[in-house]
């Protein structure tokens, strides 16, 4: 029934979009919030239900429910192809979960022109989901750019002072990268094999996978294609847009930017860059390792000296995502699977960290470490939540991150010493960072601002509980997610021959 008329990727794409249009027309701020909350929960529900249909019992119908293709630009070989496979399932689930959490946590704060703001956020969700479900390279690019344009508006229109400069920098950086991606696709295009009768070449991802690309073409295309992904992740030296943009964005935008949007870059590596260009990838693997290690260590040290909590979390997330990138780019089956798993963990953990910081600022009105202290005394509940997130960031057992970090280490052990050293430094730096926050913000003397603080709302408590549940589920039963990745990991390993 469902599969014949509507498919899951379409639902995930259209629900936020249509609800966004509805929100745009609403006048009262309260109605806007209620409708957008309904939208994110509905999307999350659909994402969960779509997982049920991925179970082996429903295998017969799987294709019908999860794949759809419309004619679009058929004479140049592009069609509006959407699909959900293992990776897409996990990434879309993560997107809808994080959006739901962010909307719940920030439901108390008010923004200028709430209808436009929440509508934009919902469109943004739709576009990000679009990136994860696009099975055609041109459609992928299409959604990617729309995400960038929406981010530009969200950051610039609703950000702090200085905002315009950062939004602008963000957009120019990312747009340049995205155009290099387009150039890479166009260079590959004449070598692709047709999959439809109407055109000589094709843009669908499946066509790219069955087309033979020579080594020279691979190297050129890989260099062009890796740049936008590294800009997005962000990896040194392409990271300079990230901390400023995060710090100057409004909280909902910064949270989603740090947790979901940056992993679009990792998704791009997993989906396209690594499996398509296995020859080129092997050639540049050492360079990637060095960039990742520099990125981890450099941003870790910078994070240590930050006073502004927003900037601190931004730099810390650069370090953390660097660890996931090392795993993804390892070329080793164990570390690759763990890296992909860590990508998902990154989304949840960093969202959790941002949520704690948001609540601190919402309660005390301050976000510089020097004016905070002793929150544990004033608000023990928040401190407990923070420590759960801390355990996850550091990677203690029972959290998903432990499983991931351990296996990245295990997998990389035989591959590269540089990466291994960087990884261990990264673990130590994140530990140091987190303990630093705990010591200065949560313990110590109760500062003036903290003494005046109120208490958390019910919505915020529920959201934080959900984060902890997600962290624990991933930690206790990681196979739930890693099984979904399996096919894709096998595919990459087969192609890279490692």
């Amino acid at each position: 029934m469902l599969g014949n008329y509507v498919t899951f990727p379409e639902l995930l794409l259209w629900i936020p979009f249509v609800m966004g249009l509805i929100v745009l027309l609403l006048k009262s701020a309260k109605a806007v919030k209620v409708v957008s909350l309904i939208s994110v929960w509905l999307t999350l529900g659909v994402a969960v239900v779509s997982l049920v249909y991925a179970l082996p019992a429903k295998e017969a119908d799987y294709w019908n429910y999860n794949n759809v293709s419309y004619y679009w630009l058929r004479y140049i070989g592009s069609s509006f192809t959407l699909g959900l496979d293992g990776i897409s399932h996990v990434f879309t689930l993560l997107t809808s979960l994080v959006f739901a959490l962010v909307f719940m946590v920030t439901s108390g704060s008010s923004y200028e022109k709430p209808n436009a703001f929440y509508a934009m956020l919902l469109f943004w969700q739709s576009a990000i989901t679009g990136v994860f479900v696009a099975f055609d390279v041109l459609v992928f690019y299409f959604f990617w750019i729309i995400v960038l344009v929406l981010t530009f508006f969200l950051m610039g229109r609703w950000g702090d002072s200085w905002k315009t400069g950062f939004a602008f920098k963000f957009f120019i950086y990312q747009f340049t990268g995205a155009l290099l991606f387009l150039a890479a696709v166009l260079i590959l295009y004449p070598y692709t094999v047709p999959v439809q009768a109407d055109s000589a070449h094709s843009f669908t991802i499946s066509a790219f996978f069955i087309s033979p690309f020579l080594a020279g073409v691979q190297v050129r295309a890989f260099l062009l294609m890796a740049i936008p992904f590294f800009v997005m992740i962000p990896i040194f030296p392409f990271h300079t847009w990230f901390p400023g943009s995060s710090a100057r964005s409004p909280y909902p935008v910064a949270m989603i930017l740090g947790s979901v949007m940056v992993i679009m870059g990792l998704y791009g590596m997993i989906r396209l860059a690594i499996p398509l260009f296995s020859i080129a990838f092997e050639k540049f693997q050492d360079v990637i390792f060095i960039l990742c290690v520099v990125s981890i260590v450099y941003s870790g040290f910078i994070a240590l000296i930050q006073d502004d909590l927003k900037r601190l979390v931004a730099w810390a997330s650069v370090t953390h995502v660097g660890i996931a990138t090392l795993g993804v780019c390892s070329g080793n089956a164990v570390a690759l699977a763990a890296g992909m798993f860590e990508t998902i963990n990154h989304g949840i953990i960093i969202a959790g960290l941002w949520m704690v910081m948001f609540i601190i600022e919402a309660l005390t009105g301050k976000r510089s470490i020097s004016s905070l202290g002793g929150i544990a005394k004033k608000s023990p509940g928040l401190a407990v939540f923070f420590f759960f997130v801390l355990f996850a960031v550091v990677g203690l057992p029972l959290t998903g991150s432990f499983y991931a970090k351990w296996h990245i280490l295990e997998g990389l052990a035989g591959v590269s010493t540089v990466a291994l050293v960087g990884l261990i430094l990264g673990y130590l730096l994140t530990l140091l960072l987190m303990i630093n926050i705990a010591r200065k913000v949560f313990f110590g003397t109760v500062s003036e601002a903290v003494a005046m603080a109120g208490s958390m709302s019910v919505m915020q408590v529920i959201a934080l509980v959900l984060v902890i549940l997600a962290i624990l589920i991933l930690g206790i039963y990681p196979d739930a997610v890693t099984d979904l990745f399996k096919a894709s990991v096998d595919n990459i390993i087969k192609r890279t021959g490692g």
Binding site: F171, L182, A183
Partner: protein
């Protein structure tokens, strides 16, 4: 042939009839009626009902490709009349004459899209450009306008002479001694120095007419100095007409000796994209900035000529359509702003949300953001190059130039949405409801073409 006759006759009629309806608002309605008639006549001929048949030794030969572009140009002019009709009336003291000059220029466009000999090519281009010399300087209280007019006239006349010289050399140099573009046999005999010189001269002259670098120096001053509505007509109609003439000449006559001119044209295209985009960033005046944007867009359009493929041809059509619509929309908005610097746009998102939204769509389309026609135009042009293989570096340069163009286009968006209004609210001229609706329609067309490009491109195979 319909278009040439109707536009010529209507131009003469408006010029003579100008005595009757001086100082009344009927002029603009008559002009709009004429424009609709012209559009209808052109469409009739497109669907194979020519009203006039005229042999003339086949010096003019209509093709569906040319007629298609006529439609785009006429539709663009109609939009300009509807949006800025009053501005044309009040350019100076001769309201009817300005419209008649525009009709003569359109007559030139129709000749330039359907020429079959080098002579008619020259005739078409001159007919297209000469009325512009008057229009550019029509506001005789504005010294910048007069300077622009003089500059355009002097350099334009010089390059017309160069085109003529090129034509003469090609006429003398080819073995058949023919003026007909399809009969000039090149490649069959050895390409002699005379032909080569003629071709280079023609290339330079035509590059001047489409304001491609390094022959672009007239453009910024002219766009900046003239009344906004004339800049709009110049960028959206005249430059497009000149490009079609350029495209037709090099894809028919010189198509046989492609390797000889390809390097030259690639140089021109790359220079235009780089110079246009980089210089545009540093402009204070928005009109001047758009002039450099026009230079950059010309360079991009030349990629369609370099690639020489069906996809490239579709790209040319889409690109020209999106670019003309975007430019008309932009200049229409600029004509209503209190000043021509970036400050004029500041806070437009608050003062007039609808217009700001439409302006953003024009700018997104000009940048080449997906969901708009501008993206598909650029994509098709690049695809045409990609299919040829070996043009990877040119694709990368074009992509980076697109990224650079985002800097100045997005600066306007930033000013509209993220800045507070600079001018007091009273200083912002009223925009009529019909004006806003028209802008909305242009924006809607841009998005529609961005989703379903076939409604524009499929006609070139008609």
């Amino acid at each position: 042939m319909n278009a040439i006759i109707i536009s010529g006759v209507w131009g003469v009629a408006m010029m003579l009839g100008g005595v009757l309806f001086r100082r009344s608002h009927t002029t603009v309605f008559i002009a709009i009626a004429g424009m609709i008639l012209l559009l209808a006549g052109n469409l009739m001929e497109f669907f194979s009902t020519p009203l006039f048949s005229f042999d003339g030794f086949e010096m003019l030969k209509v093709s569906s490709f040319g007629l298609h572009f006529n439609t785009i140009a006429f539709f663009g002019t109609l939009l300009i009349f509807l949006l800025n009709g009053k501005d044309i009336e009040t350019l100076g003291n001769h309201s009817a004459e300005y419209f008649s000059l525009i009709f003569f220029s359109l007559c030139g466009v129709s000749v330039a899209t359907s020429y079959n000999t080098l002579l008619t090519l020259f005739l078409g281009i001159e007919l297209m450009v000469v009325p512009l010399y008057f229009l550019v300087g029509s506001d005789n209280r504005n010294l910048k306008g007069i300077e622009a007019s003089l500059k355009m006239f002097l350099t334009g006349a010089f390059f017309s002479a160069i085109i003529l010289m090129g034509i003469a050399l090609i006429y003398g140099g080819n073995s058949l001694g023919s003026m007909y573009i399809t009969f000039i046999s090149l490649g069959k005999v050895d390409v002699n120095p005379m032909i080569m010189t003629g071709m280079v001269l023609l290339l330079a002259g035509m590059a001047f007419k489409v304001s491609a670098a390094p022959f672009h120096f007239w453009a910024p001053d002219v766009y900046d100095g003239t009344p906004t509505v004339v800049s709009s007509f110049l960028s959206a109609v005249v430059q497009v007409g000149a490009f079609i003439a350029f495209y037709k000449l090099f894809s028919t006559t010189f198509g046989q000796i492609k390797p000889q001119w390809q390097t030259l044209l690639v140089t021109v295209a790359v220079l235009s994209m780089v110079i246009g985009n980089v210089t545009a960033i540093f402009q204070q005046s928005i009109k001047r900035m758009l002039a450099y944007a026009v230079i950059a867009q010309s360079g991009f359009l030349l990629l369609g000529l370099i690639s020489f493929s069906d996809v490239g041809r579709e790209g040319v059509v889409l690109f020209i359509g999106s670019y003309a619509l975007g430019m008309i929309g932009m200049f229409a908005v600029i004509s209503r702003l209190p000043d021509y610097t970036i400050d004029g746009f500041s806070g437009l998102g608050k003062l007039n949300p609808g217009v700001a939204l439409f302006t953003s769509i024009f700018l997104l389309s000009l940048t080449g953001i997906p969901l708009t026609a501008g993206f598909l135009g650029k994509l098709y042009l690049l695809l045409g190059l990609a299919a040829g293989q070996g043009w990877g570096w040119l694709i990368i340069i074009a992509s980076i130039s697109m990224a650079v163009s985002a800097v100045y286009y997005f600066r306007i968006i930033r000013a509209m949405y993220f800045r507070e209004p600079v001018h007091p609210v009273e200083g912002v001229p009223e925009m009529r409801v019909s004006f806003r609706w028209l802008l909305g329609i242009i924006a809607a067309i841009l998005i529609l073409l961005g989703l379903v490009p076939d409604i524009l491109t499929s006609w070139i195979y008609y």
